[in-house]
Symmetry: C4
């Protein structure tokens, strides 16, 4: 695997779909939003994205089953008058600069192949706010920005850059003549933030007239808090292990050589 | 986008042009100088340079419009007896070593294609000086150095290296048989330094007999100071966001996987 | 050498072999285990793996003989009713992310070529335990995990990621339709840990009905302790030298230029 | 320039030459030795090596003349009964791992093309010794090691690794069937060390029966001390500039975008 590539496990016949992307990032806003949409829309997984620019470890589930880091695409047929939807999320962002551009390009090629009409990318936007998180929009044209504004998003006066895949997709989309916009949910960013994801989904729901029940995401808030405790324990182990492995490798190279 | 590439939006018929380059660097001397020249010479944007070696984020303007990091080329027809001029500046330097060489090469190929007669690169030169900033010259031949000396530049006895695109263009230009020189404006380098850019433009003006009114750059000094305040706020946000995104990615990878 | 490649020094006719891999990592568990198996099974070295993603130094033995960092493959014919075995260990892990994926891929291509039936990778698993180190299993299918469980391994409830070649082989193996499992010996990880390697070998011995006498590994514990002292001295020298070389390069570049 | 490449400025007809290499490293032992040999043997420069893996800056001399970082090859015809000699030194080591392997490979391809019979690489070996620096040898075969031992070198019992081009050439030479050895002069490594270089040249002189007057190198010791003062000043400037450039780039990216 010298390059990022996408493997389609089952063929889909998408009808002018929209693609909604959310990889891990600030407050995990994008990933939480996509996962919630997958669940509520009962979207079907149909393709994976693999990349040698992801971190060099694999994940193990509780039963000991291993899998590579990856991105996953899900498909849901729209009801009468709605767009079909392709959802994309994954385990990680690219770890290299060149890989970031590569992954964004591969996603756009994939979108073009499936005749995607518009792309929505989701991220977090760091803000120390109280109350309901706002949603900031950025886009490839005034028209798509206006659509999001009507749906409740706002424009940020500060003009912050957008880091990672969510940003690069927008930067590269005009070369493929695809409209794209990014919705950034306000978040403090320290912890997984389902509340911020909720705000983003509300905008998407309104923009594309999606039939998504949002009550379930409140449970997620509760779950998130429990997972944080478990998470911290796991991650501490992993970080320690990874760090020590690196130290060992560095130090022990000549040992028993 | 696996490689740096240049996209020409409109065709130009340049007549033995000179190319003046100034990317962000110490004191932003090069970028400020090019921007000022673009404005005063009413130069027309005609091409962009994109690269997967630029940082992996996109810029958002106040209206929410997104664009990729890039370099931009501007063209201005010389009046009778003057050279045509191509100006180049951009958002960032390459973030990788190999990308630095790649971008310099692509600029030279572009220069060759447009029959560029000489290249001037602009940068900053760190010096704790008072008064009017001096301009240090370095070049690919004694002849081009002499031209700059006559126009008020000086040679640095210290023989400092020149870092980044401004330097590599000079290093690589002889292989393409293009004359090139670098003008480095003295600057403390902590803040955008229009005064240093002014000194550099004076040398260029004199060398190429350009019709540039320099009074406007004094306003820039005032503006620069105001922008610094705004800048610090924006950048603080971005840096924090970028840093936290990275932390999140690092920590949360196994969460909800 | 632009890519990782494997050079076979002598041809083998392996009969449905299993491949057991153990590169340096936490507690050197994998490397110690493979070396012990090579010795006890009298396995014959038959191929090397080289990579430009290994660290950029060479090893020198006591007589002054130099060699490149590398991985080595060993072959042993199974007795009646047992599998043939190919063993793999080496000096180092890849130093780049892309190299990590590249090396894992090359190992799988090699395994496919030799008709390998199953791959076992070995690593360390950080745990502050007393007594006999346990062995944690992860695998590409429930069937292979079950085999290891029957042989005394356990599943980790925490679901830790597996870093490096031992992990990526498992992540990539399904694409080649090869069964693979990883055995992680518990270790504190600070020092070479033959006790943990012993636990891993016990599981492998039982799984594949290998005829391996384990008494010898107890000597290794003693040896390891002595080597640690020597090691620390060598490594301190190397680290200092490497660090200072880098400093010199950085500082002295313009000197006598 | 996507790859390291060698440009020959004039054709040579070398008769079974030996190649002696010394890039910047610990105590600058290799570089000082090669430069001294070039001078004393009146060797003629005939080729350059360029690489996008060198640092991304250019050097400027006192007159303002710029040049790319590079390696340089020098040729000297041997007198009756002596080998022809090709000498190689340069401004820098590769800054990337992959580049280190690439440069070593390119040097070996070049050696093969010119029918080089043996390669000697030179480096420094960190040791807090008093008195005349010793020379440690490492090599691709016992025969070449023995030659160096007869000429006054010794074998290091510690078996230290050899970092960088001097080491990788030895690691890769056997694949090209070229004999190679490395001579490491003892040095504290903090400062350019002509005394250590002298010890290395003595061994080379004896091994290849070269007619080199060594008295001149004592002057170098004096010069080195003076240069160190100048050097520290230049380098401090460069390091500060480079560091600040990087900071500026990082911080100012969105400014005037």
């Amino acid at each position: 695997m010298k390059d990022t590539y996408i493997r389609e496990r089952s063929a889909i016949q998408a009808n002018n779909p929209i693609l909604i992307e959310g990889l891990p990032g600030l407050g995990l806003v994008g990933k939480i939003a996509i996962r919630y949409l997958v669940k509520r829309l009962k979207a079907q997984k149909f393709a994976y994205l693999y990349s040698p620019h992801f971190p060099y470890f694999v994940l193990v589930n509780k039963k000991g089953k291993v899998r590579l880091l990856r991105g996953a695409f899900y498909y849901v047929k729209g009801s009468e008058g709605q767009n079909d939807v392709i959802l994309f999320t994954g385990d990680s962002q690219s770890q290299t600069i060149v890989g970031q551009y590569d992954i964004a390009e591969k996603l756009l090629t994939f979108a073009k192949k499936h005749n995607v009409q518009a792309i929505v990318t989701i991220g977090g936007y760091r803000m120390e706010t109280q109350g309901k998180p706002k949603v900031v929009v950025a886009g490839t044209s005034q028209a798509v920005i206006d659509c999001a504004l009507k749906a409740g998003a706002m424009v940020s006066s500060a003009g912050s850059p957008i880091v990672g895949t969510a940003g690069l997709i927008l930067g590269l989309a005009p070369f493929r003549k695809i409209n794209a916009l990014c919705l950034l949910g306000e978040t403090r960013g320290y912890l997984p933030d389902p509340l911020s994801a909720r705000s983003v989904i509300e905008v998407i729901k309104s923009m594309f007239d999606l039939d998504v029940d949002l009550s379930g995401i409140d449970e997620e808030v509760g779950k998130a808090e429990k997972m944080v405790v478990r998470l911290q324990k796991i991650e501490q182990n992993r970080a320690t292990q990874s760090e020590e492995t690196r130290k060992e490798e560095d130090k022990k190279t000549t040992y028993i050589s």
